[in-house]
């Protein structure tokens, strides 16, 4: 089985879809000739030409607006927004148009657009290259929201997203593009080549949208998380000697409530972790849903671990990032029994 990092896996997904479906097009800033600032589209324009892989002006609203029109005209666009921090100019087109076109036209028009965008911190990006705005998108009816956390899922979920007739906002946690990260920036980088989920089939396969995955079986507490935080939580639980069941949400909309709540009912304890700011973050939705469905099984209040409710500060990256210490505090709190 070939080994890939997330960048190669995502590239492979687009390569396969460009080859399989003449209606698939890729567009975005720097994605063509140059191959993307993170190299995710490397070589695709050379292989498929300038009419299938388009460099665009720096105008996120126009990229998404044009992608919608292309989708209405039968194409299957994969638009890249270079950083999730830059997606806001496109939000009217995403929220008011892409998300609601099928609804408002009673199914006569729709646009199968996938918007890929790198998110999250831990790369010294400061407040304009580190944000995790996924929660904002989950609040909008009509778009699917996906975030893979390993190369296998990255490829399978991206292919599934491109093939999906609904719009998908696809977040790529860029800190783990090249390898899993346990939250300690002083340790040497770990590549995906040593991780089982770095094994990625060459060909076409999908990972279903709407399915969470239990990445570690455990009995004492359920950790519901996604993206980079999966690896931070794994390490923190291991260090504390806690037998945690760790769930990778993978798809925020539609949410796999059953997998999450079955686990929480079993363990009786739940910690939710994400990099995004805490207040009104996606963790709040998770917490409320789990409380509604698992209240009588809970042994302790649900704990949330998140980024602070401040912008992401450049010089205090590791004080901001919800690293092992913050996860450990949350785990200790959730394990307490009065």
């Amino acid at each position: 089985m070939p080994r890939m990092n997330m960048i190669q896996a995502l590239n492979s997904a687009m390569d396969i879809m460009l080859a399989r479906d003449p209606n698939v097009v890729v567009l975005g800033e720097d994605v063509g000739y140059f191959g993307g600032v993170f190299r995710v589209t490397d070589g695709l324009q050379r292989k498929y030409g300038e009419h299938r892989v388009l460099d665009t002006p720096i105008a996120e609203g126009a990229i998404v607006g044009a992608a919608i029109g292309m989708g209405v005209n039968g194409l299957r666009p994969v638009a890249e927004v270079q950083f999730a921090d830059y997606i806001y100019p496109a939000c009217d087109q995403i929220f008011s148009e892409l998300a609601r076109l099928r609804y408002r036209s009673a199914g006569e028009f729709w646009a199968p657009v996938t918007i890929r965008t790198p998110c999250g911190g831990g790369i010294r990006g400061g407040q304009t290259h580190s944000q995790s705005p996924e929660g904002i998108f989950t609040h909008v009816c009509g778009i699917k929201v996906v975030m893979p956390a390993n190369p296998y899922d990255a490829k399978g979920l991206l292919i599934a997203s491109i093939e999906d007739d609904d719009p998908v906002v696809f977040f790529e946690p860029k800190r783990i593009y090249n390898g899993p990260f346990d939250g300690d920036p002083n340790k040497p980088a770990v590549p995906w080549s040593t991780h089982p989920r770095g094994e990625v089939p060459e060909g076409h396969y999908t990972v279903p949208i709407g399915k969470a995955e239990i990445v570690r079986k455990g009995s004492q507490v359920t950790i519901v998380t996604y993206g980079t935080m999966i690896y931070v939580c794994e390490a923190a639980a291991r260090n504390l000697g806690i037998d945690a069941e760790i769930i990778d949400v993978r798809t925020m909309v539609p949410l796999d409530v059953d997998t999450i709540c079955t686990s929480v009912k079993k363990t009786g304890r739940c910690l939710i972790a994400h990099e995004a700011t805490r207040f009104s973050g996606f963790g709040a939705e998770l917490s409320a849903t789990i409380q509604e469905q698992c209240f009588w099984n809970l042994e302790a209040p649900i704990q949330r671990v998140a980024g602070w409710d401040t912008p992401y500060p450049h010089a205090f990256e590791w004080e901001y990032f919800p690293g092992p210490a913050r996860v450990a505090t949350g785990l200790k709190a959730v394990m307490e029994t009065p």
């Binding site: 097009v25 009419h51 299938r52 388009l54 665009t56 002006p57 105008a59 609203g61 126009a62 607006g65 044009a66 992608a67 919608i68 029109g69 292309m70 989708g71 209405v72 005209n73 039968g74 194409l75 666009p77 100019p89 009217d92 087109q93 008011s96 148009e97 076109l101 099928r102 609804y103 408002r104 036209s105 009673a106 199914g107 006569e108 028009f109 729709w110 009816c141 009509g142 699917k144 007739d165 609904d166 709407g210 909309v253 539609p254 949410l255 409530v257």
Partner: protein, 412 residues
């Protein structure tokens, strides 16, 4: 006097109680503007963005190089579509006043824009309208009953009760869904046109916004992408002088024409008399051929006048003179085409009156049929379950649960 900076606030030329003043409007005599080759370079046709393309002169004759030489039967069809649009608008306005529909927007005074443009395009060309382009539906032949059922949000509402009145869509007629958020359709039309070019098809996209909406970022996004990719698209700014209560100066039309933004982005810009059916037709034909032959996009500014209120929710007598429209120097599009046909000996007041009666009757009959399918106030309505459909292609579990909850809350 010391020189100092100043803040300029654009002022309309007349306010309620004042004599209408259109001295700001720059026009050209009919027939005076040259018609360049459709493949002309943008840099060589800058005058088109400043002058005003007109065909119909004061004597109701068609003159000059833009004269499209349409046969009288075609002109009569155009007149019919414009008159039907106007009568339909009038009747729906009255239905709103009578409380039968919740909201309406007339296109009074702007009928030539939709009708002449639509007639100059091919049936496969894709239209991305604003909310004041009902003439497109009339011209492409959507039965009025269907439009009325949408306005009534009844059991045959094409939008299934999800959209405000006038926000129609028609995939079969290749008319895109109207958003209600302004200008969003502009970059979408450009994307649609890019896709046509990518697929090697020669259909073009055409979109419309008002001059007020050209202030939105989406206008600039659309212009930029259209120019960069030379997309086969016609982008129309319908300058009807008013964006609800603010006159066109507040959208940036005071210092320079809207058409001039075309050359600013490196694309053709044409300023046309939007109340001159023949001029609108000819300019559209020119721009469509330009787009279809790979010579690039065109921005068309239609100089026209919003003869009615913005919608049934505002009262223009609070911000402009009551008799503004009667004094509008470019006249009324319907009257002008009618007078042209009469001058040609192909029409008469009697025929016009007979046509108006026929169309009034058609609108009335359509309305009688439409209300049989329900009204928003008195029902019957579509199933409330439809609320949960089409959010996604397939209904996810959380929505089917909410649908069950609504059923329970309403007693099964």
């Amino acid at each position: 006097m010391p020189r100092r900076s100043r803040l300029h606030t654009p002022q309309p030329h007349s306010r309620p109680g004042e004599e209408p003043d259109f001295s700001y409007l720059e026009t050209s005599p009919a027939g005076a503007v040259a018609r360049p080759d459709v493949n002309a370079r943008v840099r060589d046709i800058g005058n088109l963005a400043v002058d005003l393309v007109r065909v119909l002169d004061e004597g109701h004759r068609a003159v000059g190089p833009w004269h499209p030489h349409l046969d009288p039967p075609e002109l009569q069809v155009g007149l019919r579509h414009m008159l039907l649009t106007r009568i339909f608008d009038d009747r729906m306005q009255r239905a709103q006043r009578a409380g039968k529909i919740s909201f309406y927007m007339r296109s009074f005074g702007e009928e030539a824009v939709s009708v002449a443009q639509c007639m100059a395009l091919r049936p496969r060309d894709m239209l991305f309208p604003s909310y004041r382009n009902q003439g497109l539906y009339v011209t492409r032949g959507r039965p009025l009953v269907d439009l009325m059922c949408q306005l009534l949000s009844n059991t045959r509402d094409m939008c299934k009760g999800r959209q405000l009145p006038v926000m129609y869509h028609w995939a079969g007629g290749r008319i895109f869904s109207i958003s209600g958020n302004l200008t969003t359709q502009f970059p979408q039309a450009v994307g649609w046109a890019m896709a046509a070019a990518i697929k090697g098809e020669d259909d073009i996209a055409v979109s419309w916004i008002g001059e007020g909406s050209s202030a939105e970022a989406d206008f600039h996004h659309a212009m930029l992408f259209a120019s960069v990719y030379q997309a086969p698209v016609i982008l129309n700014v319908v300058n009807n002088q008013w964006a609800i209560s603010t006159f066109q100066g507040f959208a940036g039309g005071e210092q320079r024409s809207f058409a001039a933004r075309g050359p600013g982005y490196g694309m053709a810009g044409v300023r046309v008399d939007g109340n001159d059916f023949l001029a609108v037709y000819a300019v559209t034909q020119w721009a469509a051929e330009r787009a279809r032959t790979g010579a690039g996009p065109t921005l068309v500014e239609h100089v026209t006048y919003r003869g009615a209120a913005h919608s049934t929710s505002d009262d223009p007598s609070r911000y402009r003179p009551k008799d503004d429209y009667e004094k509008w120097p470019l006249g009324d599009p319907l009257e002008r085409l009618k007078n042209h046909l009469i001058a040609l000996g192909e029409w008469s007041d009697e025929r016009h009156a007979a046509l108006a009666r026929e169309l009034e009757e058609h609108v009335l009959e359509s309305w009688k049929e439409a209300v049989q399918y329900g009204t928003l106030a008195d029902g019957p309505r579509l199933s409330r379950d439809l609320m949960f459909e089409d959010v996604f292609k397939e209904m996810p579990v959380h929505l089917s649960r909410q649908r069950e909850q609504l059923r329970a809350e309403q007693g099964g």
